[in-house]
Symmetry: C2
Subunit: 342 residues, 2 copies
């Protein structure tokens, strides 16, 4: 069997970190799986597109992007194809969907994935849009065609959540899920608790990369709602979209609220929850007061947690501690290894 | 392919809970794996032994044990074979080693496992002795013969630790492990911190089942040392025994120590650790002061945690919350499902 051929859609920090990991671990992959993994197409939006069936020199491309912010037009296979053209025409076995998320539609990532499935190709997505907005449809398509469809990265980067349930909690039925999954709100709530004023927190957050230019995706709970939707669609077969989540952000939380909670021995966290009620999955995102002694209270800054309750194995929690971009890259990398096992 | 045939060695609370789970989930198993799982031998020490190649009625046996504390001598296949005779002579595909742990030798569980491997049979063990005292030898034997050898239950019951690394952190190299893995010491330290005197704590602990008749296995760190040894032998290929662990229990911790720590914003926990030093795995068990804000500080009473640091995926923690006997049974159950996949 020849090398597995990947088309990378999106080539931001995750795509670049993934490319480095793939290059470094190529020998390990060959040793373990008996075949290698090459990249035959990269569509990097403003950076340009490269399509080369013989395999792209990833280290050269990363160096070019670091030096100039774009691909070198002299690179073999450099072209102006857009991502949909790459999906429809390039020679690959699997796409790695790493384009920018549209949290309100899941597009164009959903169309990329549909395009790949239509050609009988496997899919790895780091983009949670498709899992939040179109999971059932996409999963059914993959299953019917016997194609790999992997999305570990969409919640807590490469920290095992979906793989945890599928591969280590076999025959368990998930009855409830909860988690703290948004770093920005963690950061803001901690800043307020420490007595820093809102504007200073946001300025510092932007500098550190915790806070987006438009922070409402995080502060109003849209990001958390998309994540809990993805969790529930996969783990509890919820068949919901982010619009079905009872969502409340931290926009109305005041310093007084935080102080009052503290006086009661509590900390305010933006909590994601899903539970079964009359066989239906009920999803919510809202600020809640957590006991200071509770494990959830210790989940601060970029740390995240998902707690999974099952019929056979009680409650298990997984924590990702202060991840860097490599942990996101590992999510994609681990899913590519799954494709090798399909 | 016919049903998978199990020999259960030991029939205490875990064996009984496992038998109930196996009975309840028989249909799910057949649906998912295309074959069932039956029990053809149970060696229950003082309860007696039953060997029946046609499959034992587990619910009847559980009812007998609940009613009389022993097997009914009228049961088909009732006999006086000991565990080693069952291992050597009974008709089975896999043993489930659930006998009483000897923490200083790992015996007789090691001999049970060797006996099963010698006959080309698979092994599931809930007993950590063999993993702490003879892992490399046993693992090599299993690998050479292509036999299944599973031991998820030996640390944190059925909570995924070994399966987590093997199945969800592929190609990751584990560089450090830490954890809080002993409920008894958690319970004693919390009692002391709450102002309860030592004798009252121990009495209450015995009543609740947290404290053994001889508490030194826990208080002096022997149990924690066996667990960290098992973790390191499997996850970091340490090739050590509990004697190699730098071990210190909580026997010298006073109320004054706890109060002094508290004044510094700290909590004392019995911490298990393993790390690489010059390519060698260094293991320790000792009381340490943990920041009150740290996730480790929230791990109290019967809750446990293992944190795993890897080269590719940073640090991931798994928490088991207040397990019941069912979570231990699930560890054995999950490993039996793995045998079905061998």
């Amino acid at each position: 069997m020849g090398d597995l051929k990947l088309a990378l859609l999106g080539f931001g920090s995750v795509g670049q970190a993934f490319s480095k990991m793939l290059t470094e671990k190529q020998d390990d992959i060959r040793k373990t799986y008996g075949r290698g993994v090459i990249v035959t197409a990269i569509s990097g939006r403003s950076k340009g597109t490269i399509v080369d069936p013989d395999g792209i020199d990833l280290m050269k491309v990363c160096a070019d992007v670091e030096a100039t912010g774009a691909f070198d037009p002299e690179t073999k296979g450099y072209c102006d194809k857009n991502t949909m053209e790459v999906v429809a025409e390039a020679d690959y076995d699997a796409i790695c969907e790493m384009t920018v998320l549209n949290i309100f539609t899941g597009q164009p990532a959903i169309d990329h994935i549909k395009g790949a499935f239509a050609r009988g190709k496997h899919v790895v997505t780091a983009n949670k849009g498709p899992i939040a907005w179109a999971f059932d449809e996409l999963k059914q398509e993959a299953d019917e065609k016997g194609l790999g469809f992997f999305y570990e990265t969409t919640v807590m980067d490469g920290t095992p959540v979906f793989n945890l349930v599928e591969h280590t909690l076999k025959l368990c039925k998930v009855t409830a899920v909860s988690g703290i999954l948004n770093s920005t709100t963690n950061f803001i709530l901690e800043g307020l608790a420490a007595g820093t004023d809102y504007d200073t927190i946001m300025e510092e957050g932007r500098r550190l990369g915790f806070v987006e230019a438009d922070p409402t995706m995080d502060t109003h709970g849209y990001d958390a709602a998309a994540k809990v939707t993805a969790l529930l669609n996969v783990l509890m077969h919820a068949g919901i979209t982010p619009e079905d989540v009872d969502r409340k952000g931290i926009e109305d939380i005041t310093v007084e609220d935080i102080k009052a909670a503290e006086a009661r021995g509590k900390v305010i966290k933006l909590l994601c929850e899903g539970r079964l009620e009359d066989e239906k999955v009920i999803a919510s995102v809202k600020p809640v007061e957590v006991d200071k002694q509770d494990m959830m209270a210790s989940v601060d800054s970029t740390t995240s947690v998902v707690s999974i309750t099952t019929d056979l194995m009680g409650k298990v929690s997984v924590i990702e501690h202060a991840p860097e971009i490599e942990q996101t890259a590992y999510g994609v990398f681990g899913d590519v290894l799954r494709v090798l096992e399909v």
